[in-house]
Structure formats: structure tokens, C-alpha cells
Subunit: 385 residues, 2 copies
């Protein structure tokens, strides 16, 4: 057989998927497994959204819809920015996408020429670098630690800017660390990219999942950045595959052209269902779930610290605790395998999120019940305590 | 603002979308428009599929599912190959994708290095060349006409093979011509690509929509080709965004890696709904719809020929009649605009499908009721008859 394209050599599998697969295999063999690996809310989609989806199906909303999304949903997202952030975003600047994954594909296709580099924090979301690789661009991973709140701060981005750097991609709150960028930091990144003639992409998919504060949106500061968001996390709609992209007005026609060619359309009934995500009844359910995540974080974090995991900062958002394991191991893949195989606790090795200190970090996702978290802690206690 | 990536200059918008948008605008202004432009079945998704989708939502099938698709659906597709074509396809070789669009993205990412060329027929499906452009590959468009049944026959492919040609992409039945490749022709393409060390991709998304015969599948001849298929056309599920890819066994791990990174998952409830597409009750509905398409073709084709459109072959499949307009115009975009604006008949200009004789061809889609087709014919008769 003909060799596969060279890019395949640089694209790594999602290790968390492998952990999940192995965990399910052990469960089928009768083992009890506590699932702290998946970056996915453990609640089914809220009932009002379900009902709206069923109603859309009942009335036959099963055909293609506009490549940029149905107008009603683009308008609902614009109203959400108005209500939540007090900002006016023209619905024409909002493109619905097949998950944040689709938005990342559009942004990579629009902005990155072969050989272009994009600065991003290491650790970070693993797929980002592979979208760049797809279009023959290059992820320029910048090692960040607790001193930088695991974020690509403006001064660090400036220091790492290369001759081929085309722009910056940050996430706030971030996976796997849960850390957000402040308004001043976002502003600094905007100034830097503007001054260097680069682009700024901000992944805001964990907006809404912050505990005791609201993460600022780059859209409060500028219309020139690209924002990636999603119905998956706060809105709890992972399996529907819907996200969105907010772009500068001038980029919209080009993005629509890409979306027509690459996607044709998103799930039509899914978009009608997503309209219900913004209803007060749904928001009350989603906010109650957010409070449950906060309680889980507040339970899990001190226990992990007590057991000797190194978590120097309290993660303010997302669904994760990124923990140093130096006290136990310098091989996080081995450590995760042991925890799963011998103790029935599924967590994700740091290598899924980059290279920087990946061998001495793991990610705990508190996407499971309090009971499961308690059981996980007592299992960890037996082996590490 | 930073210039967009260079590839955007080579990616054209889907003209049919612009025709559709303009047609809807005229309708909102009170005009009566006959829609013969859209490549989409005009029937809502069949009831048993709708009900299965509603049931999946009711039981909370709203989370992520496997990157390669739910096992039940991969197995159902394998059984369909067994029942319809009498062939055994290992379900592990079948990856569910977000529409055939997702399958095209996977194939381009897997097989095409920057600078690689892929041979394809002109006219053909317009997005194909843009998936290649995305990964810095090159569509090598081969002009084909009625003498070649508008297909990239093995001898023609051989003649056009370039030093940088990496493989061949054909569609059978094809959009916009409705022409299929015979078993012998598919076999010839398989031999040619094997001998040249290239890949063979066959787009079979219009399988099931053939009139009076069954189009052969390349899978009846070899396990080495890549097959793209879809739930959109015969199965009538456009707005659900589900397709599939059948790949050689050795390519599956690499494709799964790509799917994990690029899609994470497809619509989960959509996949459970699609299981119902294979039930006898649904198949009876779908086959009855296929017979309706055949009746529409049999009505429209002789009328178009009588009016002076040049359609030398009877299209055996898909949803289209690709018609020469030399008797009326040598500017198909102008012709389509006139037909829409002045006579309320929406059709698609040839330029959507390539460059070869695009100015003297248009595509009629018989994706509207017999009454609308009759009205379209009488409107055309008034101006052209």
C-alpha cells in the first residue's frame, strides 16, 4: 500500500480515548472503575433541549440548513453575549460550527499558510496542534507553569514570537489547568498580535463553567479576535456536535465559503434544539450543574493536595485538576496505567496535553458523581496515602 | 487585518447556495419559484428514523460516542453490504463520519501530501477539489464528455497521469451527470492505480438512487480502495450530517486517530436514528421514493430534450440532469440568472461543477414535486419553446 501522508507521523492519538477504551474493557470484565478521565459533563442534555430536539424532528426539520447556521441560533447566541457580557455582537459575525472542532478547522484553514507558526501554551488542548498540522502549519508550543498560571501571558508570547509566527491561540479557561486569562492579559495579547500583524484566537469553550467569577471574553475588548465556543461544556450538548465561531466582519464571507465546502451544513434539528439552551428554564438547570461541579472541585482538590499531588493553584474553571505527581512517579503514563489497572481509577496522563513536564503531571476530570469521587479518593489513599 | 491564507484565493463558493439564497429572497418578495437547484431529497426523513431519533433523545443518548462511530451502526452498514451487494465487509473497516464531507476530509488528510495531485472528472462535485486544496494538494481535473459518459474511464486516467499524481477520485453515480462506472471500468481503475502505486477513492453517495439497475460497488472487486458513502441521499438524512468511509484495514488506525482529533465524535442520537434506516419498514419507504425520482426523471428528460436542451445520455442515477444549453446561450451563469429572475425557475450553472464546457451546461435537480416540474417545464416552454 501507498505510504500515508507525512502529517500522520506528527499526529498523535488522543490518549484519553485509549484510557477510556481500556477502562470500559475492564468494566466489561467485571471490574469497578471510577471515571475521572473524560472531558465531558456526566449529565445528559437538559430536558428542555431534548424536548426541543424531539419537536424539531416531529415537524421534519431534517434537511440541510445554512452553512453558517440557522439565523435564529446566530441571533440567540448574539443575545447571550448581550445578556451575559453586556456586549453587542452582530449575528452576522457568528458562525455555527460542527462542534468547537469545526471552528478550529475553519480558523486553521482561514489563517494558516504552510510553514506558519502559531504560539500556544504547553500544556494545552491536544487537538489544536493537529488542526495546524493538517494545513501544514506548525504549533509553537510555549512551556508554561504555575508561575504563569499555565497561560501564554503577553510577555511570554512576545518573548517566543518567531519570524514565522502568524498568530496566537489561547484558551480561557484552559484545558487541562482550569486557569483563565484576565482582562488585562487578554488586552496585552490583543495589543501584541495587532502590533506584530498576527491573529488572535481565543478558545472560550469553558465559559460558563467558572466558579465564583465570570471569565472575561476577548469580545469585550475587541472585534478583531477570533473566538471559539461550544454547546458541549456549559450547555451540556457534547453528542450533538455544535459549537460556534465569532469572527471579525471582514472574515465572514471567506469563512462561509469554507463552511459551505467543508461542512455543507450542521445538524439542523440540533440547531433548533440548541435554541432551547438559552431559555431561563434551561439556564437554571445548567447553573445548578455548574454549582455541582464547583462542589466536586472543592471536595477533590484538598484531598489530592493532602495525598501529595502538587496543585499549586486552585483551578477557577473548566472541569479539571492538573496535578503534579513528582512525589509518586516520573512516568505519568505508567502511573495512570497502574492507577487504572490495579486500583480502578481512570485519569489522563500529562502527555495528552503537550511535552512540558508531561511525565510528571496527570489530569483529573471531576465529571463523575460525588460518590464516585469519594470512592476514587479512598482508592488513591490506599495506594498513595 | 492580516491577509487570509493563500488557499482562500483558490476556493470558490458553492454557486448553488447563491442560487438558493437568491431564489428564497425572490420568494419572500412574493414571487413563485420552481426549485430545481438543490441536490437534496425533497422528502423529510422517513418516519421510522425520526421516531428512532426521538427515542434516542428520550433515553439520553446525548454524550460523545466513539470517534469511528457506534459499533451497532458500523455493523448495520456491514450487513447492508452483505444484503445489497453480497459482500463481506468487516465492520472494523467502516468509519462513520460527519457526512460524506467528513469522509472526504479524512481521505484527503490521510492520503495527500502537499504538491500531490488527484485525478478527477470535470464536471464533478465541486467540493472535492477544495478538500485537496485544504491539505495543499492539487485537483487534476480531466475534461470528460458524453463520449466518456462523463466519467474518468481507466484509459483516460492513464493518459492524464502526471508525475505528481497520487491517486484517483471518481464518483459513481456522479453529480452532476448521473452516470455510473461499470464493473469493468472500476476494475480498470483499480488495476491502474495499483500498477502506478496510487490510491483509488470511489464516491458512492448516490448508491441506492439508480433507476432500473444497481450500480456496482468497488468493494465487490477489491478491499484496497476507499469508499465514501452517505446517509444523505438514498437514506434521506441530509440534515443529520452522517456519512461513512470504508477503508483498507491497514488505514483504519490512522483514520481513527484523525477522526479523534478532527471530529471527536459524530452526532450520537443521529447514529442511533440511522440504525432505523436499514429496517424493512424504512427501506420500503426509501424504495418508493426512489421510484418517484425515476418517474420525475422520465417526465423531465424528454421535455428538456424537446425544448432543445442537449442531453445525449439518459442519466441512470442520482437526482440530476446535466444539460447542454448551446442552442440558447453560451453563458450559463447569465442563463440561470435569467431563468430565475425572469421566469422563476431555479437551476444551477455548470460553473459549479468545473471548467470544462461549464458555460454551456446547467444542472436540473428533480428534487421537487411532479407538479413543480410540470410548471417549470411550461415556464421554460414559454421562453424557449
Amino acid at each position: 500500500m501507498r505510504p500515508f501522508a507525512k502529517r500522520l507521523q506528527d499526529i498523535e492519538p488522543f490518549r484519553v480515548v485509549e484510557v477510556l477504551t481500556r477502562a470500559r474493557m475492564l468494566e466489561r470484565a467485571g471490574r469497578s472503575i471510577m471515571h475521572l478521565e473524560a472531558g465531558e459533563p456526566d449529565f445528559a442534555t437538559a430536558d428542555p433541549i431534548i424536548r426541543a430536539g424531539q419537536a424539531a424532528l416531529a415537524r421534519g426539520a431534517t434537511g440541510y440548513s445554512q452553512a453558517a447556521g440557522i439565523p435564529e441560533l446566530r441571533e440567540a447566541i448574539a443575545r447571550w453575549y448581550e445578556e451575559e457580557y453586556g456586549i453587542t455582537v452582530n449575528p452576522s459575525r457568528i458562525l455555527v460550527t460542527p462542534g468547537a472542532s469545526g471552528a478550529l478547522l475553519l480558523v486553521a484553514a482561514l489563517l494558516v499558510n504552510p510553514g506558519d507558526g502559531v504560539l500556544m501554551a504547553d500544556p494545552g488542548y491536544p487537538c489544536n496542534r493537529n488542526f495546524l498540522r493538517l494545513v501544514e502549519g506548525e504549533a509553537q508550543l510555549v512551556p508554561v507553569g504555575a508561575a504563569e498560571r499555565y497561560q501564554l501571558l503577553p510577555g511570554i508570547a512576545e518573548k517566543h514570537w518567531q519570524p514565522n509566527t502568524a498568530g496566537v491561540l489561547v484558551a480561557s479557561p484552559a484545558n487541562p489547568t482550569g486557569e483563565s486569562l484576565t482582562r488585562a492579559e487578554l488586552s496585552g495579547l490583543q495589543s501584541l498580535t495587532k502590533q506584530r500583524g498576527g491573529f488572535l484566537v481565543v478558545d472560550e469553550i469553558y465559559h460558563g463553567l467558572t466558579y465564583g467569577f465570570q471569565a472575561p471574553s476577548i469580545l469585550q475588548l475587541t472585534d478583531e479576535a477570533f473566538v471559539i465556543n461550544s454547546f458541549s461544556k456549559y450547555f451540556g450538548m457534547t453528542g450533538w456536535r455544535l459549537g460556534w465561531l465569532v469572527a471579525p466582519e471582514a472574515a465572514v464571507p471567506e469563512l462561509e465559503k469554507l463552511a459551505q465546502n467543508l461542512f455543507i451544513s450542521m445538524s439542523t434539528m440540533g440547531q433548533y434544539a440548541a435554541l432551547a439552551a438559552f431559555e431561563p428554564e434551561t439556564r437554571a438547570i445548567l447553573d445548578a450543574r455548574r454549582d455541582i461541579y464547583a462542589q466536586r472541585r472543592d471536595f477533590l482538590l484538598p484531598h489530592l493536595q493532602r495525598l501529595g499531588f502538587d496543585v499549586p493553584l486552585t483551578p477557577g474553571g473548566a472541569l479539571y485538576i492538573y496535578a503534579g505527581i513528582e512525589r509518586f512517579s516520573r512516568d505519568s503514563q505508567r502511573f495512570c496505567l497502574d492507577m487504572l489497572e490495579q486500583h480502578g481509577v481512570a485519569i489522563t496522563p500529562g502527555a495528552d496535553f503537550g511535552r512540558h513536564k508531561a511525565n510528571t503531571h496527570v489530569r483529573f476530570a471531576y465529571t463523575t458523581s460525588m460518590e464516585a469521587l469519594e470512592e476514587a479518593v479512598s482508592r488513591l489513599e490506599r495506594v498513595l496515602g
